[in-house]
Symmetry: C2
């Protein structure tokens, strides 16, 4: 490669919305109809890794996604690239202005199964934008980068920040900003349950469009429910009030799926395993006489559970007794919890044999940081 | 039995709401928060049969339900009895006034499995009230009887009428009245799919109470959605506009279940089989390039499908190819449709092997008449 080419490798986290984004006011610019709040998960186990190279020798933009050659002319990818070049062209630095005209080669991969239904486009576009920003020396333009990631995939704008993040639907530009850093609530942990046999369903871009067009309840949610919830959720996070945080999280997940069901034809993202997980969480909380665990589901059947560190071993043991069909160090990945025989809780929470194997595996992690540059050889 | 005793045997139909009732403004009087519209199904296959006997010799009220002795002191049963006695006591006929003080013996049974989740309390209380009305010579008090049945079980007030029935939430008294007779739309047929392995869930009395208390969307549904739908549905019925009727029916069923999901903790009445039926109906309509079939689900996983007679054989054949695991004359009961090999439609609607057996059986019937007296020996 010629001496003028530059390369950078970065990783970016996934984020999980606890107040859901569902519905756009502008399809092309990806402006959401309501604010949302998300939690960034640590990159110890799940992340997108992107290597970007720019060179005056390249004749076209190219992209390799998860080892598959893409043409580089996807609309969203090109929109993203074109906007970041515009930003670079406005730079005070001659070198950045020069580089803004070079073509790029992108190699990007997720270290978690894309098909598992985890939000790979959020970490993917956040990583793309962040990596290109390193090459164009635009790292300091945090807000603009969030807006650029948004054009690639709405929720990607939240993955540019660590910790607890709010995406504003009416800010100029439309961007996300942190509510609190990851270190604010270190006790908060996350258990991602990857559900087996998830079938294909309507993609979220098409799904939310259909909801906006047909649901008679969505507008009410946006205008009269989410606004208060955003403020309550922000307070719950700032106060580290787990019970309040958990209840709002569960209610908002359920309402999002209610909107999907009120869509015509209806959208089903949760399946019978998702239902079983919801019911287990409510029964567990009932037995614990306090809200100890919260669930949330995006546009797919996988559950994301939040709980504090002190509850992890106890809950993980019960969860494993219901769903585990592999040795516990295979069933749990990431920060593998200590698992006991869960007899005490299982006495009143009788596992249904039919549920064994319905959760393929789980990933246990912390709240984490935003994107970062890594050593490409590492 | 002494010569003064009187006995009457009647049957009453079940009814299926196409605009759903969910939520009360008065728990004791069972006043609904919104109007609903239902269709009364014929009693050729499904009905409640009740024999009531009154006698001055009886020392207490008694009831036998589906061959199980009840104590006769259930609150709703006693409320119903007490109100009908009040009505009888106001009669101009000395004989009715006298009989209003006699105790009653009730024997009631459903000829369809109660556990199948079909609305047995609606036909049950409609039949109880109608049968007692024969004995007390109150048959002509149609409105009062509808109100009396309502006190037993809300939707029972609709089963006192045949055809297409509207229950008014703000009439005085709170009663149902017909929109159109059964003969108005003889082409309209109904296929009830009894889903296998339906698990226990929260009862509808408790469920709707929880929705009223916790759902952030229910009030909007009641105030801003149902009102228009009631008028649209009434017009669709009067015009026999199947497509319009079908779309409103499906949208309202979905919205009712969306409210259940927005309830906290959420209520799940549909299961994966229900979802599969919904998806099949939408795909079938898509292929037929017109809305030929509608689904609706009450507080349970069983599907009630509406379609016109001309479509029955074609749809039944496809439905059977997906769900049938017994010979077709066992799978279909009631007005057994002609079943072909469904190859034409099945080419683009590939049955999923896993669905076989998930529907236990189906009942095919017409729109039918209200309660009637029958020969008890028949």
């Amino acid at each position: 490669m010629d001496s003028k080419s530059r390369s950078s490798t970065c990783i970016a986290p996934i984020n999980i919305a606890v107040i859901k984004y569902w519905g756009k006011s502008d399809e092309e610019q990806i402006i959401p109809l309501n604010d949302s709040i998300s939690i960034t998960l640590d990159t110890d186990y799940m992340y997108t890794k992107t290597t970007a190279t720019i060179s005056p020798e390249f004749t076209e933009d190219s992209i390799v996604l998860n080892n598959e050659q893409g043409s580089g002319d996807g609309v969203r990818f090109q929109n993203c690239l074109s906007e970041i070049r515009k930003l670079a062209a406005l730079s005070k630095h001659a070198s950045t202005i020069e580089k803004s005209t070079w073509k790029v080669a992108i190699v990007s991969e997720n270290n978690f199964p894309t098909k598992a239904g985890l939000a790979s486009s959020a970490s993917g576009y956040a990583c793309l934008v962040y990596t290109l920003a390193q090459l164009f020396e635009l790292e300091s333009h945090k807000s603009e980068l969030s807006a650029l990631a948004r054009i690639g995939s709405g929720s990607a704008c939240r993955s540019l920040f660590g910790g607890f993040v709010r995406w504003f639907h009416d800010s100029q530009p439309c961007i996300a900003r942190p509510i609190a850093e990851a270190e604010h609530w270190p006790e908060l942990h996350c258990l991602v349950a990857v559900v087996s046999n998830s079938s294909k369903s309507v993609g979220s871009t098409e799904g939310m469009k259909r909801s906006v067009e047909t649901s008679k309840l969505l507008e009410h949610r946006i205008k009269h429910v989410v606004r208060d919830r955003i403020e309550e959720m922000k307070m719950a996070i700032l106060e580290k009030n787990f019970e309040k945080f958990a209840e709002i999280t569960m209610r908002d997940s359920n309402q999002f799926h209610a909107i999907c069901l009120d869509t015509y034809p209806p959208l089903f993202y949760m399946n019978s395993t998702s239902q079983a997980i919801i019911q287990l969480v409510h029964r567990y909380n009932q037995i614990r006489k306090s809200v100890k665990v919260a669930y949330t589901f995006d546009a797919g059947p996988n559950a994301v559970l939040f709980l504090e560190q002190a509850e992890m071993s106890r809950f993980a043991s019960v969860f494993y007794s219901f769903f585990g069909s592999t040795p516990h160090d295979q069933f749990f990945r990431g920060k593998v919890p200590n698992v006991t025989d869960a007899m005490e809780d299982a006495a009143s929470l009788v596992p249904d044999k039919a549920l064994k194997g319905q959760v393929q595996y789980t990933i246990v992690c912390n709240v984490g940081q935003g994107p970062k540059t890594i050593d490409p050889t590492g």
